[in-house]
């Protein structure tokens, strides 16, 4: 049995964990749920020896686990599969697995591969061709490789941190099935997730963390998604205002036959879609099917090989605001100040520029106004963006997009990493924007979000786009479409 008692952890002045208790039995899948920042990952990092707690101890089968030693925890039988697979992109899968426990003697990739194939077969999935590198593999395969690597150490405990956040809906079933097989082998499986439906469907027990404290322990049979959500955020979640704004007749944006090739691969294949004024349309797809490139083309950072983008509004490019997926690395420049980050948006910059001079005062005032209007918690426009929390950074990005007065907003995975309240807020802002006549293209892999927010839904797979029929707009069919059943 895995047991953790009284775990307390501070990061600076923040109390990440407050005397948290946790236990899990062999042959059990135990879901650990909570908001982003509730402390789930921190708790597991403590157990896995990656972080030293200020207080409390953890043990496995009565034997105390080494504190602050990842290697020690590994030897004691605890393996972790990270939130985004910690693999080496340019190395082959065999080399990646060589970091596992598949062979400990003389360095021999062939032995690693052979042992890995055996284990994979036992678990019911196949491995790639010899020598292929990770960057050519899909996300699902990467997750499986990472699990395989963790399992090669023959762990008693397998901790999986949000593994399904990168999986396509169609791959979910196979993954959960894999978990059940591992459970049948008598291992302890801890599943960290914020997706309540998954937790309820596969777990034997559920523990809820909120702000570093354990607030509920229960079984799926004795609870529901709504109740778990309430435990997670401490109150009933606001009912979502349905935002299926279908829009008027006026077409705001037309994308026609956009194609892009790179290194012989077709990234985008005659992509065609149109957006109407006042509508929120969705583009559903598993990451890596061309969305990022499409976003870059719309942002004018990348040129398509062929095709056209037409905007009705006068003002051309200025009428389209893009919120990119990678907030901290692309959307914002963390060491610049808030007002400087605002100035990254070309329309805003042009407004603040008079004959090549950048009007600093104007920009700072603009920023201050936006901070107020969007409720961004910050001491002022001149602090660095790195000082903002994740949620506030997102608010800043949304604020920047809206402040540039666009006709169309394109948002890519905009709610990733946000908690329920933050997500609701962003959605509300976008709904208001659409209600006022703007158009929104929501590009996401999150079906819940898309189904909730969007009227028309498109699907993208392998660079091709297709509009879905009303009858197809449910999780199961969409999942299949996202997996490319039509290409």
């Amino acid at each position: 049995m895995l047991a953790a008692r009284n775990i307390t952890k501070r990061f600076g002045t923040t109390l990440a964990l407050d005397r948290a208790d946790f236990d899990a039995h062999p042959g059990e899948i135990h879901a650990l749920v909570g908001e982003n920042g509730a402390g789930k990952t921190t708790l597991m990092n403590v157990i896995a020896g990656r972080i030293r707690p200020e207080g409390g101890e953890a043990s496995l089968d009565g034997v105390a686990l080494p504190v602050g030693s990842a290697l020690g925890a590994l030897k004691a039988g605890i393996a972790v599969v990270n939130q985004s697979p910690m693999l080496f992109e340019r190395m082959s899968w065999e080399e990646n697995l060589a970091f596992g426990g598949f062979e400990t003697g003389r360095f021999d990739l062939a032995t690693v591969a052979a042992n890995a194939r055996r284990l994979a077969a036992r678990l019911g999935f196949a491995l790639p061709y010899p020598g292929t590198t990770i960057d050519e593999r899909s996300m699902a395969e990467r997750v499986r490789l990472e699990i395989l690597r963790a399992l090669s150490f023959e762990p008693r405990v397998l901790i999986l941190d949000e593994p399904t956040s990168v999986l396509a809906p169609s791959e979910l079933g196979a993954f959960l099935h894999l978990l059940r097989r591992l459970r049948a082998e008598g291992r302890i499986i801890v599943l960290i997730t914020h997706k309540l439906s998954e937790a309820l469907s596969v777990a034997d027990r559920v523990t809820v963390l909120r702000e570093g404290r354990v607030v509920e322990r229960t079984r799926p049979a004795e609870t529901s998604e709504a109740e778990l959500a309430r435990a997670m955020i401490g109150e009933l979640p606001e009912p979502q205002t349905r935002a299926h704004l279908a829009g008027g007749d006026e077409v705001a944006l037309t994308i026609e036959n956009l194609s892009l090739q790179r290194d012989g691969h077709r990234i985008l294949d005659r992509v065609t879609l149109s957006l109407r004024a006042g509508e929120i349309a969705g583009l559903a797809g598993v990451d890596g099917n061309g969305q990022s490139e499409l976003v870059e083309i719309l942002a004018r950072a990348l040129k398509a090989d062929s095709g056209e983008i037409r905007m009705i509004a006068a003002g051309g490019d200025a009428a389209l605001a893009v919120i990119p997926e990678n907030r901290d690395l692309v959307g914002l420049i963390l060491d610049m100040t808030l007002w400087e980050n605002l100035m990254l948006s070309r329309p805003l910059r042009e407004r603040a520029t008079r004959r090549a001079w950048l009007d600093r005062e104007h920009a700072i005032e603009l920023c201050a106004g936006l901070l107020r209007r969007f409720g961004i918690r910050a001491p002022g426009p001149e602090i660095s963006a790195a000082a903002l929390s994740g949620g506030n950074r997102q608010r800043l990005e949304v604020a920047r997009a809206i402040a540039s007065d666009p006709r169309v907003i394109v948002a890519h995975n905009i709610c990733r990493g946000l908690d329920l309240a933050g997500t609701a807020e962003v959605h509300r802002t976008l709904s208001e924007f659409a209600a006022a006549g703007g158009s929104v293209l929501l590009i996401s892999s999150d079906l819940d979000e898309l189904l909730e927010m969007c009227g028309r839904l498109f699907v993208i797979s392998a660079g091709r786009i297709r509009e879905t029929a009303v009858s197809e707009r449910n999780a199961e069919t969409l999942g299949m479409l996202m997996a490319g059943s039509w290409t």
Partner: protein, 358 residues
């Protein structure tokens, strides 16, 4: 802010000096004697003082070249070659400017210098933008090519009439820079340098283009995403910074040497890195840090004469100053830094960040 910058700069120099003192002791020379000689050589009398300014002038030009490129995360290590290229252009056209009125002749000379340096920098800019060629390597290679070009010029096509020395034909008198306070070597060049520094400051911090450059320096990927024309900026900035270094070379020819010699730069392009870092890449600050390093250069001659310690000692000081400043700006010295300045910036992994206040 100014006080803390000053404290930081002086602190680094003092620490470097302390380390050098130890080296001197190890060599059997007297640190006190050396530093006294240094101070005397740099400030001891009127001529020394003016010569400090004279020696600072090329550092302002190359320092600005470094500051502008580094602000865009363009690692221009070729300011030396760009300065030499500018000098060659100036030295080549100089002798032919006899018939021109003086302001025009000087202007043409400086323009030639700018063109030479611009070419030298621009090639590397183009290679980086279009061929993804590492600009550190390309600018360094161009340094060597420039040196050989200079050598060939003064031995060959540009050699002076009597063919007795490896030096070029002297430039026309009309192209001589305006001098002040003769017989000192103080000249208009320093005024031009200061004007250029102000211009760079305005560009970097007051214009939209300067903002785009700084954004590019902090995060090229984000900059590209927001439509900042990073490729075009790369070429433009390396060309412009090359031009500035080239003007520096032309000023040397016009004001000091009046002709070309085998060696025109004692490493100003590298020293400029220390100059720029001490000033945190701020063009106005570069004016002052150039004076500091000019003083060191000037004084080191006296140290060599008096103490028998090689003038290269000053390069050791330059290197130590860079190293100390680099180390000082890391989290390890956060507390020390916080106590010296009001606002502490969180440190990140983008490369230009720790180097500047931009």
């Amino acid at each position: 802010m100014i006080v803390s910058s000053l404290a930081r700069a002086l602190g680094a120099v003092v620490l470097a000096a302390a380390i050098v003192a130890l080296v001197l002791l190890a060599l059997g020379a007297s640190p006190i004697g050396a530093f006294v000689a240094l101070a005397e050589g740099a400030f001891g009398n009127w001529y020394a003082l003016t010569d400090t300014v004279v020696k600072a002038t090329p550092l302002v030009f190359t320092g600005l070249a470094i500051s502008v490129s580094f602000s865009g995360a363009l690692w221009n290590i070729g300011a030396d070659g760009q300065l030499v290229a500018g000098a060659i252009a100036a030295g080549a056209i100089g002798p032919w400017l006899g018939g021109w009125p003086r302001p025009a002749a000087i202007a043409i000379l400086l323009a030639a210098g700018a063109a030479g340096g611009a070419l030298w920098g621009g090639i590397c800019g183009w290679l980086r933008a279009r061929r993804d060629t590492n600009e550190v390597i390309s600018t360094i290679m161009m340094n060597f090519v420039a040196a050989q070009l200079l050598s060939w010029s003064v031995h060959g096509p540009l050699i002076e009439a009597s063919r007795a020395y490896p030096a070029s034909t002297p430039i026309a008198e009309s192209a001589h820079m305006y001098m002040f306070f003769s017989p000192s070597r103080l000249n208009l060049g320093i005024v031009l340098a200061i004007a250029l520094a102000v211009g760079c400051y305005l560009f970097l911090f007051k214009t939209a283009a300067g903002f785009e450059l700084r954004a590019m320096g902090r995060n090229r990927r984000a900059a590209t995403f927001f439509g900042i024309p990073t490729a075009r900026l790369t070429i433009l900035i390396l060309t412009v910074s090359g031009a500035m270094a080239g003007i520096g070379g032309a000023v040397q020819v016009s004001a000091i040497t009046h002709r070309l010699y085998e060696k025109m730069s004692p490493g100003w392009g590298f020293e400029a890195i220390a100059v720029a870092l001490v000033a945190r890449l701020n063009p106005i600050g570069i004016i002052f840090s150039s004076l500091l390093f000019g003083a060191l250069d000037n004084g080191s001659q006296a140290v060599q004469r008096g103490q028998g310690v090689s003038a290269e000692l000053v390069q050791v000081i330059q290197a130590l100053v860079i190293i100390i400043l680099l180390a000082f700006d890391t989290p390890m010295f956060d507390r020390l830094r916080n106590s010296l300045s009001a606002a502490a910036r969180p440190v990140s992994r983008t490369t230009t960040t720790e180097l500047s206040d931009a």
